[in-house]
């Protein structure tokens, strides 16, 4: 009987009958679960944790479809003519580029971008202890920041309420994936994944090879049509003979501008060791910083910056998807925190004894949060995101659609281009109002709003035309 009650507290068994919950625990003991099965972020896993994808894969199928269709048309309709009239190397080069593009794309999409695992309850409690000076509080305190020195420059680290830790430098929380990602660049809907520390080089090789591929196909199709019309036929006749070429021309023509622009932009970012996130926010631009301070991460040499970003050591995945859960982790958070309480209260340490019941309960709530067990905890970021980025997005949306790219949704196209960044500079001015919010934030909603606004550019890449 008591066993059944104990199992009822088991959060994973909340929606399950006590009987089956008991069986569940037995199963847990018999079959060790892998860590990916209890991963708190919004990700999907395949092949027993080998492949990771965000829960929303964006328009990845569209990107793949466009590339495959264009290349298919190219090989079927243009290559035979060109092989006959020019050289056999044309399909060979096209094929090699196509393979490279698809490999890079899949690698970018299916690689862990550098997700940081959330803080364990003990770690979170330790950090809270260091921050909390007054003890119990009835409302969420203002956003916490910590200042550190990096290469003699002051950098502010923000506290992530979802992951319960101070974010390392250059790390940002992606609300789509609900994960903190190291060296966060942006969340690319075309690739269907965040671009971060671990897959930035794959993303870069994808866009570079795609630039080459689109330029190559564009050039070949132009050559094809030109050669055909030189054989005594008019241009219209040549086009009528090979209608597929027109489709390819249209796709390539619109893609080339955006892809080449994006490649150029990312080449600039790599050469100056910046991320899209930092560039958009203007973190290290001279206008924002009063004194002479540049990017503290730059090696001050273009070649070193490029080598470091693209050819640097490949960092490992930190989330250990395929590792097995230890028995401690398999036991629900409630029991863990319940059992940890006796030692805390028994200790004669005065600091521990003065902890109020509220603190203890708060800690339990925090451990619920960490394991994503409390339903209101996890969606906190997203609904507020939508609410708050609504007014901000409204101001930037018109400029996005007007200045950025043509409305054709079929393009494998890219976020950042000059009008786009201008709209974010406007959003930056919204940011500058926020410090006032940070200083006096009596209500939790207000401070939470400040926190979300501060992260808005992370999800700003989502509403793309």
């Amino acid at each position: 009987m008591k066993n059944c009650e104990y199992q009822q507290i088991d959060p994973r068994a909340l929606s399950v009958l006590p009987q089956s919950a008991h069986n569940n625990t037995e199963k847990t003991v018999q079959r060790s679960r892998r860590k990916w099965e209890v991963f708190p972020g919004k990700n999907r896993f395949f092949c027993d944790g080998r492949i990771i994808l965000p829960s929303q894969s964006g328009v990845l199928p569209l990107t793949l479809g466009l590339i495959v269709v264009t290349c298919g048309l190219f090989f079927a309709f243009d290559c035979p003519f060109l092989v006959k009239h020019l050289t056999v190397f044309i399909p060979v080069i096209g094929g090699a580029l196509f393979v490279f593009v698809v490999f890079s794309l899949l690698r970018t999409s299916f690689t862990d971008p550098g997700i940081l695992p959330r803080a364990t309850p003990d770690e979170a409690a330790d950090i809270e202890k260091q921050i909390d000076t007054s003890g119990s509080s009835t409302y969420r305190p203002p956003p916490r920041t910590k200042e550190i020195l990096i290469n003699q420059q002051v950098v502010k680290l923000k506290y992530c309420f979802t992951c319960k830790m101070f974010r390392p430098p250059r790390t940002s929380h992606c609300s789509l994936c609900d994960n903190c990602v190291e060296r966060f660049d942006h969340h690319c809907p075309w690739v269907g994944n965040c671009v971060g520390k671990r897959n930035y080089r794959f993303f870069y090789s994808f866009i570079i090879s795609l630039s080459f591929l689109t330029s190559f196909i564009f050039g070949c199709v132009i050559t094809h049509i030109t050669l055909r019309s030189q054989e005594g036929k008019s241009l219209v006749q040549s086009i009528q003979e090979s209608p597929a070429s027109v489709v390819e021309l249209v796709i390539c023509f619109f893609s080339i501008w955006s892809i080449l622009g994006l490649s150029g932009f990312h080449t600039y970012l790599i050469a100056s060791n910046l991320t899209t996130n930092e560039d958009i926010k203007g973190s290290w631009s001279s206008k924002r910083c009063a004194e002479e301070s540049g990017n503290p991460y730059s090696y001050n040499s273009i070649i070193t910056n490029c080598c470091a970003t693209l050819c640097g050591p490949m960092p490992p995945s930190l989330i250990d998807r395929r590792g097995f859960l230890s028995l401690d982790e398999a036991i629900p958070a409630v029991s863990a925190s319940e059992i940890e309480l006796p030692p805390f209260t028994v200790k004669s340490d005065a600091h521990m004894c003065t902890q109020s019941t509220k603190d203890v309960l708060e800690r339990m709530v925090h451990s619920y949060d960490v394991h994503g067990l409390c339903p209101p905890a996890t969606p906190k970021t997203t609904p507020l995101d939508l609410e708050v980025s609504g007014p901000a997005a409204a101001s930037s949306e018109p400029s996005l659609s007007a200045g950025c790219l043509p409305q054709d949704a079929r393009q494998p196209v890219a976020p950042p281009c000059p009008p786009f960044s201008r709209s974010y500079k406007r959003r930056d001015s919204l940011h500058s109002i926020n410090p006032a919010f940070r200083l006096a934030s009596p209500s939790p909603s207000l401070s939470r709003t400040t926190f979300i606004l501060g992260d808005a550019p992370d999800n700003g890449f989502i509403p793309l035309p």
Partner: protein, 143 residues
């Protein structure tokens, strides 16, 4: 049933007196380095010099893993040329050093820390964010 289950856990958990977290040191950028400041909670348990030596070795190992040298460049270029398929069959330099680190930590735990009732957790299990030092209560040593 309940009693034995929770007692078992208590036996496991009650032995843990405290946990000390050594955070990352970002003064040199985003390279993986940990603060080697000696925490006050460990003063009664271990020699300061011993501890700092362990931390220094760990920091050196991580620096070796992330070093931008000819080896990492060759690896990067080779990977690029093979469309990154080489990572499926080859272990990266970083992973090799991580294995070395895991072995070193285990060795240190066996030789130095466990006899003093301490346990170092490999930072990779905490996402390379902290080095967790678990301090066990003295009575666990008498068991």
């Amino acid at each position: 049933m309940v009693e034995t289950h929770s007692l078992q856990d208590l036996r496991q958990q009650a032995a843990v007196a405290a946990k000390v977290f050594l955070q990352r040191d970002y003064s040199n950028g985003t390279v993986c380095q940990f603060q080697s400041k000696f925490p006050s909670e460990l003063e009664t348990r271990i020699d300061k010099q011993q501890f700092e030596e362990t931390m220094q070795t760990l920091n050196n190992l991580y620096a070796e893993a992330e070093k931008l040298g000819s080896q990492s460049y060759i690896e990067g270029c080779l990977a690029c040329l093979t469309a990154y398929t080489v990572f499926m069959c080859m272990e990266t330099h970083y992973e090799k050093v991580l294995k070395k680190i895991a072995k070193y930590i285990q060795e240190q735990n066996d030789k130095i820390y466990a006899p003093r009732g301490l346990l170092l957790t490999d930072p990779i299990e905490r996402g390379l964010r902290v080095i967790e030092v678990t301090i066990f209560e003295d009575r666990s040593l008498t068991r």
